[in-house]
């Protein structure tokens, strides 16, 4: 799980709880689902978190959540923004793969070292999570005073998001002294090499220009000219990506963090060739949550005032809706009506015909719940109920066993497996449990067979694209290779070693929907000084008798077995396996010094 580093002193300062000890803070953080993992080298808390609340990726967001938890803040707070001065103009030349951009101007920031570190961490953590390692969204933060925008639109300073040829222009990237083209950055600059894969396939590379020239090469690296330092007072934050909603939300999280440090937010116009946005989009969303659903999901009765209180303590606002409930969210598919983002729609495009059939069963009370713009995890009214439950304290709920009667039972295949295993154990076999993954050498070569050969066990393999190691490259096609490996690894243990496994095996099978024929095999090896064909056959016969099936063993040739001492296992007229004495070359290959008799067949045959 991801981690975030938080300076406890900053946390005390931002929450206004100077009196809290480190231990108390850790306990309070655990209550938010942020688990203390240890101290960092800089004497900060390393906190582990579940990746839903991405608004808690920095100390500012964590402090905000704690203020709600302490009851020092209530309800939704939206910072105000000054009207736009700057414009981001999106040029037609922008690469199709990365068409979206957003931004905000932040004024009067007071960044000390801690504040700057926190901002850098927030940027990195957002890149790693929502930004999907910058592929989906990448953040660039610039010192505004270093930008020069010409008055392209009604006197407003403008920067331009464009696409450039890989070697079209030059700039000095961060951590470098040389002027490089974007293509050179990807080859020569350390950060460039790291993120080269994101853009190397593009025909034109994303670039951002001001009047002076190229100053940012998203999502790879910014230019040195606009680098932010503790002396920076005004910032320009831009984000580019593959999805407008994602970068807008990332921007909101950054804006909230900087506003929490006293900065002033200022809008930025984003001019696409055919539309215009004003960002940051700090509009709230509304979820309609039925009182009845809250009560059934949490299993408790709640007073409406309590619901509103719980919502406010979660940083939400809730108000009783004037409308009648539109009913159960579970049974209707309603097209999206109010998705934020580029393709903002005018009014509902979908239907309003939500199913109201059982809405009135326990009352019509519905809350309009306001979701603040930094939340990215609230998709559905359910997510609001989860917040209410956390604020109530899930561990304060009394467990109860659901009074619902059902009939239990085993799957037939699982019963058959168990029965076969029981009989094998009765015949003196030690039950084994081996991995389903193996490699070609173990599965085929060491048994003297080759993939696809027309003998039992040598079917074509289902193979793994990126195996953990060369020992696990495919699914085993039979169990004898695994059992022989166990024998090989236990030559220092007492004999006889009579091992069996009722287990999974698979091979390519075009008649299956998945293309993989999966089955259970019954495999057995008898390794002891006197083991011979008859010992294997005797036990096979006993199994056939136990399951009341007809067994025949016509002679066969199988490369894993001694010629003249191998037979097909034919059950009820169908060839389903093989029995015999393992060939000495296979025995020696497995470093064994005792004879081994063996059989293997399809479990299905016993059904």
């Amino acid at each position: 799980m991801p981690t975030v580093d938080i300076d406890p002193d900053e946390l005390r300062e931002l929450t206004g709880r100077e009196e809290k000890s480190d231990e108390e803070l850790q306990e309070d953080l655990f209550g938010l689902g942020l688990e203390f993992e240890g101290w960092t080298d800089e004497d900060e808390f390393e906190l582990e978190f579940a990746p839903d609340r991405l608004d808690r990726l920095s100390v500012e967001g964590v402090a905000r959540s704690m203020r709600y938890q302490y009851g020092d803040s209530r309800g939704v707070h939206v910072p105000s923004t000054n009207s736009a001065d700057w414009t981001i103009e999106v040029d037609e030349s922008v690469p199709d793969e990365r068409p979206y951009v957003t931004g905000a101007v932040i004024r009067d920031v007071d960044l000390d070292e801690d504040g700057l570190d926190s901002l850098i961490q927030l940027q990195e953590k957002l890149h790693a999570t929502m930004g999907r390692k910058r592929a989906k969204g990448a953040i660039g933060i610039h010192d505004l005073t270093m930008l020069k925008g010409s008055a392209a639109t009604e006197g407003s300073p403008t920067i331009r998001y464009v696409g450039v040829e890989p070697d079209e222009d030059r700039f000095v990237p961060l951590d470098s002294d040389a002027e490089l083209t974007p293509a050179e950055v990807l080859e020569e600059h350390q950060t460039g090499r790291e993120y080269a894969d994101l853009v190397s396939e593009y025909e034109r590379y994303p670039a951002i220009y001001d009047d002076i020239g190229l100053f940012s090469f998203p999502p790879v690296i910014n230019g040195r000219r606009t680098e932010v330092s503790t002396d920076s007072r005004d910032l320009f934050v831009e984000m580019t990506g593959t999805d407008q909603w994602t970068i807008d939300k990332m921007l909101n999280i950054v804006c909230y963090a900087l506003a929490a440090r006293g900065a002033t937010l200022e809008d930025v116009r984003v001019e696409y060739p055919d539309s215009e946005l004003v960002r940051p989009d700090l509009s709230t969303k509304t979820k309609r949550v039925a009182h009845d659903r809250i009560e059934t999901l949490l299993g408790i009765d709640l007073d409406p005032d309590d619901v509103i209180d719980l919502a406010e303590r979660s940083g939400l606002d809730a108000a009783r809706s004037e409308d009648e409930a539109t009913g159960n969210e579970e049974s209707s598919i309603t097209p999206l009506e109010d998705r934020d983002g580029l393709e903002e729609r005018d009014g509902p495009v979908g239907s309003d015909e939500s199913n109201a059939e059982d809405a009135a069963s326990t009352g019509d009370l519905v809350y309009e719940v306001t979701i603040p713009p930094y939340r990215v995890d609230v998709l559905h009214p359910l997510d609001v109920i989860d917040d209410l439950g956390r604020a109530y304290g899930f561990n304060d709920l009394e467990p109860r066993y659901p009074e619902v009667g059902t009939v239990g039972g085993r799957h037939e295949r699982s019963r058959l497996e168990r029965a076969a295993r029981t009989q094998l154990v009765g015949l003196g076999f030690e039950d084994m449990l081996n991995f389903h993954m193996i490699d070609e050498e173990q599965n085929y070569e060491r048994l003297g067979v080759s993939p696809g050969e027309e003998v039992y066990g040598a079917g074509e393999p289902a193979t793994i694209k990126e195996p953990y190691s060369e020992d696990y490259t495919m699914l085993r096609t039979w169990t004898l290779p695994s059992l022989l490996q166990v024998l090989e690894n236990n030559t220092h243990r007492a004999y006889p070693q009579h091992l069996s496994e009722v287990g999974f095996a698979a091979e390519l099978d075009e008649t299956e929907n998945t293309g993989v024929g999966e089955g259970r095999h019954v495999g057995a090896v008898l390794a002891d000084h006197e083991a011979g064909y008859e010992d294997a056959k005797a036990r096979l016969q006993a199994l056939a008798r136990d399951f009341d099936v007809a067994l025949e063993t016509p002679a066969t040739e199988h490369p894993s077995f001694i010629s003249g001492r191998a037979a097909d296992v034919v059950i009820d007229g169908e060839p389903v396996g093989v029995v015999g004495e393992i060939h000495p070359k296979v025995i020696v290959e497995h470093d064994l010094e005792v004879p081994v008799a063996a059989f293997e067949f399809d479990l299905e045959a016993l059904r």
Partner: protein, 502 residues
């Protein structure tokens, strides 16, 4: 009369004039003492000898007692150190006295707890005084130890009790049996006693001929270890799996079954996992190289799942702002969790529509391209279970899981709110380890999201949970390296010696 060989020997060795101890008879007959005792009781039952018992008490020094004979009692050493430090005049700091006394470890406590009792002085507030009238040379306990060491005997009195309480001496009782011929015994001996024939193996011939009535069976050494038998046995992890299945079937759960190599659609998309979720693009997944894609998926379901991903579910629902591609959904992989079985069953494609209420489970293999070490395997058994009913609450979830874990001795379950893309609310389950008492993570649970259930055509609540069987097995069997149990590196010796799980 006829008697077994050993009884004849004892009868002949016994005396009518004086009782002979069993040891003496054993020496005379060249039989083990226990055989002689057994024979004597047999003979007594027939009235041929009388057996009398005498109980003797022996007192011996323990190791600790022997140490004090050498070094003298700790309290005496403390007293002498106290005197040396002038504690007979004024109280002296305890630390100082203990330092010079050379007492160490447990001896210090022993010295302190006996010091005042025996009148050597007093200990108060970290200071020690010494009573100048005390005389270590007259210490009754010390003297008793010495005389026991020198002469090997001691009168049983108060001092003995005290020494026994202090664990310095051991009092043991031995029973001596003596055998004396009775008059009847003498008479029978005069009349002549013959040795009856003894046999080893009971044979069919012996049984059918009736000869068994006249023979005596040779006595075997019944205490000796017999040859080791390696019988067949069920694998210890399989036993655990059977146990879990028993519990779940008992709780009304029905078992699921389905493919190990499956389309990502069933493994992830149906679970409302966005296609750009790190767990799906990350290489901890075992994608198949061959074959690559599933042939068919239910078209209308694919459509509904895609819509849920893109647009969400319900009037206020929102989807993910992530790409969704059917080709990606059709790609095959080894299932990373057995929740793929749950999505298949819930969709109605496996056994038809399932009506609430219903409970389903599986204990089956899942595959993770993670690290392979003492507690992690690339393949593990996942316990997966779900309950479908109208209006399930978080409390029902808690009640169900408490009941399940209680069957394995894991009590006091705690529910830590958590995040899963496919459940809301979600909880990590923590429980108290049955032997170490530590708080440990024992599973992940939640109520399936409507974005998952609605496309599958389920219009009631479903709560679910999962955990690794290996984790439960390691908790309840104390195994330390999971590789000893599972896989081709398995140690037969470990499996043979593993305690049976039931």
């Amino acid at each position: 009369m006829q008697l077994p060989e050993s009884e004849v020997a004892v009868l002949e060795a016994a005396n009518a004039d004086e009782a002979t101890p069993v040891d003496a008879l054993a020496a005379a007959t060249d039989l083990p003492p226990e055989t002689v005792t057994g024979a004597a009781f047999e003979l007594e039952e027939q009235g041929l000898v009388a057996v009398t018992e005498r109980v003797d008490e022996t007192i011996s020094l323990t190791d600790e007692g022997r140490t004090y004979v050498e070094d003298r009692l700790p309290e005496v050493r403390l007293y002498e150190a106290a005197l040396e430090a002038g504690a007979d005049a004024d109280p002296v700091s305890m630390g100082q006295v203990i330092g010079t006394s050379g007492l160490e470890g447990a001896e210090v406590d022993i010295a302190l707890s006996n010091y005042a009792r025996k009148g050597y002085g007093s200990i108060e507030g970290g200071e020690i005084t010494a009573d100048s009238d005390a005389d270590p040379a007259a210490d009754p306990e010390g003297n008793a130890l010495e005389s026991l060491a020198d002469e090997g005997t001691l009168e049983a009195d108060d001092v003995l009790d005290q020494l026994e309480r202090r664990g310095l001496v051991e009092v043991s009782e031995t029973t001596t049996r003596e055998v004396e011929l009775t008059e009847q015994g003498v008479t029978e001996l005069m009349a002549g006693v013959e040795t009856a024939e003894t046999v080893g193996q009971v044979t069919p011939e012996l049984l059918t001929s009736g000869e068994w009535e006249d023979v005596e069976f040779a006595e075997y050494n019944v205490e000796a270890d017999a040859e080791t038998v390696e019988g067949g046995r069920v694998h210890v992890l399989r036993e655990m799996s059977e146990r879990v299945k028993d519990v779940l079937v008992g709780m009304g759960f029905e078992e699921m079954d389905g493919p190990h190599a499956d389309a990502d659609f069933w493994i992830n998309d149906c679970l409302f996992m966005p296609q750009d979720h790190p767990a799906r693009t990350h290489w901890d997944r075992f994608a198949l190289e061959q074959p690559t894609h599933i042939d068919e998926l239910p078209e209308d379901l694919v459509e509904r799942v895609e819509r849920a991903h893109r647009e969400g579910v319900g009037e206020d629902g929102e989807g993910y702002h992530s790409p969704w591609d059917e080709d990606f959904a059709r790609a095959l992989a080894l299932r990373g969790h057995t929740t793929s079985l749950s999505t298949r069953y819930l969709s109605g494609t496996e056994i038809g529509e399932i009506e609430p209420p219903a409970r389903y489970f599986s204990v089956e293999k899942a595959y993770r391209n993670d690290t392979l070490d003492a507690t992690h395997l690339l393949e593990f058994y996942q316990i997966e279970g779900w309950v479908m009913a109208e209006d399930l609450s978080v409390r029902d979830l808690m009640g169900t899981f408490e009941e399940f874990y209680a069957q394995f001795g894991i009590e006091d379950i705690q529910f830590k709110p958590h995040y899963n893309p496919y459940t809301e609310p979600s909880f990590e389950l923590f429980g108290t380890h049955p032997t170490t008492g530590e708080l440990i993570e024992i599973g992940n649970s939640g109520i399936f999201r409507e974005e998952m259930l609605e496309p599958l055509g389920v219009d009631c609540d479903v709560m679910a949970w999962g955990l690794a069987l290996e984790r439960l097995a390691m908790l309840t069997t104390g195994a330390e390296d999971i590789r000893d149990l599972h896989g081709t590196l398995a140690d037969l010796e470990f499996l043979r010696n593993a305690e049976v799980t039931y």
